[in-house]
């Protein structure tokens, strides 16, 4: 008779490990299965870890975890070819514990985190692919792995298998993703000495900066580029919806070179040594792309449930929060001795009531609006650059005329009515 667990968690990223950790802490018998050589070996993210949701899993984790820098400044750049208009919020309080958020390197962090779950009593098996869920009488009762005699059973299976979630698709919870529902993102880790990073980003040893780049960073396509500071390296990446990548016939590795060589970016990375190149998909479909979240004996968490807020580049926090809510649902189900679809349905309610459901609902129309209305990235960002640059170019024109000129930059090219309509539309999807 094969071994039986209370819970099997498929995947050892932030969502799966949050769930495994919480369940193990509650005394449940947990098996976590990871397909990579070690947790994190298949995982990629820009690098922002949100303290609040991580702390809910492991209090004061920062004292022990491999975090890079505490983020004290968040910059946004609207890029044109040879200019930019920027905003920044810097707050040194974000460096005081408990910090707002941190940069991390996932291969290091995920190993540390999964090991915490192991210390809590969870059993971790690496280098094992789950091929499918075992379904008996309409109930998920375990998983079939690619190991010899690889069937394992449990009362509940948690699918934390990432953006592609082949397992959820096999269960019929999910249709195949469409190119406009995912962002193809590539990233390089660029080594630079600590003091050079400090000088170029105007920070001290433990302070970090995030920069999000819009406009010319994606050649006007729907997406962003980013530069995040680690202790002794930068994570520089760029991504657009896969549909934009296809439409514009862009090669991702050429696009990242375009960003690296952009006159506004280049001075920041001058002399850096490339340490790693990584590609990954980000689920960007939002609320409408969320699959069925629960079934008889099964729950979906994290990227597998498409829980990413693309507008605020939040994902790892939603992963951790969903893993935690899944664990709470499972612990309650264990007490009841009932893992039916009806009992597990409280997970969906909890998700929708939490910031995950609320935020994904808030921006539910944002992604496809910007996908269908490319003018925001393609036209308006260059226009803002032209208007601001012309306003600040001292050439003997009176300030009143400068003002008129700046406004005309928009109304002449687009017409007043179109500008007002576009502003209203943007407000509507972001409000």
């Amino acid at each position: 008779m094969p071994e039986k667990f209370d819970v099997i968690v498929v995947g050892a990223g932030p969502s799966g490990t949050s769930c495994a950790y919480k369940c193990a802490k509650a005394g449940l018998k947990v098996l976590q299965i990871e397909r990579g050589e070690y947790p994190g070996s298949k995982n990629v993210m820009g690098g922002v870890l949100y303290r609040k949701q991580m702390e809910a899993v492991i209090p004061e984790f920062w004292k022990d975890a491999p975090v890079e820098r505490a983020i004290v400044e968040q910059r946004a750049w609207m890029l044109d070819k040879n200019s930019m208009v920027t905003t920044s919020v810097k707050n040194n309080d974000w460096e005081k514990e408990p910090c707002n958020n941190y940069t991390i390197l996932r291969a290091k962090f995920d190993q540390w985190f999964a090991n915490k779950a192991v210390e809590a009593g969870s059993l971790l098996i690496n280098e094992t692919v789950v091929l499918e869920c075992i379904v008996e009488d309409g109930k998920v009762v375990g998983v079939r792995t690619d190991r010899p005699d690889g069937d394992v059973y449990a009362d509940v299976v948690v699918l934390a298998d990432g953006v592609n979630s082949l397992l959820a698709k096999k269960l019929g919870y999910h249709n195949e993703l469409k190119p406009e529902e995912v962002a193809l993102t590539v990233m390089e880790v660029l080594n630079l000495p600590k003091n050079v990073i400090n000088d170029r980003f105007n920070v001290t040893d433990n302070q970090g900066v995030t920069i999000e780049l819009f406009g010319d960073a994606t050649k006007g396509n729907l997406g962003t580029a980013f530069i995040y500071t680690n202790k002794e390296s930068l994570n520089l990446g760029v991504g657009t919806t896969l549909s934009s990548m296809i439409k514009a016939k862009m090669k991702p590795y050429e696009l990242i070179e375009y960003v690296k060589n952009h006159p506004m970016v280049r001075p920041f990375i001058e002399g850096a040594e490339s340490a790693e190149y990584l590609a990954h998909l980000i689920p960007e479909g939002g609320f409408y792309s969320m699959p069925k979240l629960y079934g008889n004996g099964v729950l979906l968490v994290g990227d597998a449930a498409q829980m990413v807020n693309g507008i605020h580049r939040e994902g790892s926090n939603m992963a951790m929060a969903s893993g935690t809510l899944a664990a709470e649902t499972i612990i309650a189900a264990k007490e009841k001795g009932d893992y039916s679809e009806e009992t597990l349905s409280s997970y969906k309610t909890a998700i929708l009531d939490s910031f995950i459901g609320q935020d994904l609902k808030k921006y539910k129309d944002a992604n496809h609006t910007f996908e269908e209305q490319p003018q925001y990235f393609k036209d308006y960002i260059p226009m803002i650059n032209r208007a601001a640059s012309s306003f600040l170019t001292v050439d003997g024109t009176s300030k009143r005329d400068k003002q008129k000129e700046a406004i005309k930059t928009f109304t002449k090219e687009k017409g007043t009515f179109t500008v007002v309509k576009d502003l209203y539309r943007a407000w509507k999807v972001m409000k």
Binding site: R35, G36, D146, K178, P179, S233, K251, E270, L278, A279
Partner: protein, 105 residues
């Protein structure tokens, strides 16, 4: 500091896809986890050979009459499965413990 700058000049900035791929550790399986279902579909229905453009690792290369699949350098991102306009790519994960091994990001 001037001395620092000179040392930094010697560091390697990976520019081409070949240089980028060279930075990564792969534990390649002996068989491919990616399969083009029909090369005829590529020939007859796909003049742009889109996968050869958007694949972030240049896994797909068109060779006159067939698609060459360099699965050994795959990042397992899933773009080709989703982005192939003819759903002509069968996509699985490599065997447990195989494929790409990220060390950092």
């Amino acid at each position: 500091m001037e001395g620092d700058e000179i040392k930094m000049e010697e560091k390697k900035n990976a520019q081409t896809i070949e240089e980028k791929q060279y930075l990564i550790r792969f534990k390649a399986d002996t068989e491919s986890h990616l399969h083009v279902l029909s090369h005829d579909v590529c020939i007859e229905k796909c003049p742009d050979k889109l996968c050869t453009i958007f694949c972030p690792a240049e896994v797909y290369k068109w060779e006159d009459i067939r698609m060459h699949v360099g699965y050994e350098g795959c990042h397992e991102c899933g773009s080709c499965r989703i982005g192939c306009p003819h759903e002509n790519i069968k996509w699985e994960y490599p065997k447990g413990g195989h494929g790409i091994v990220f060390r950092l990001g």
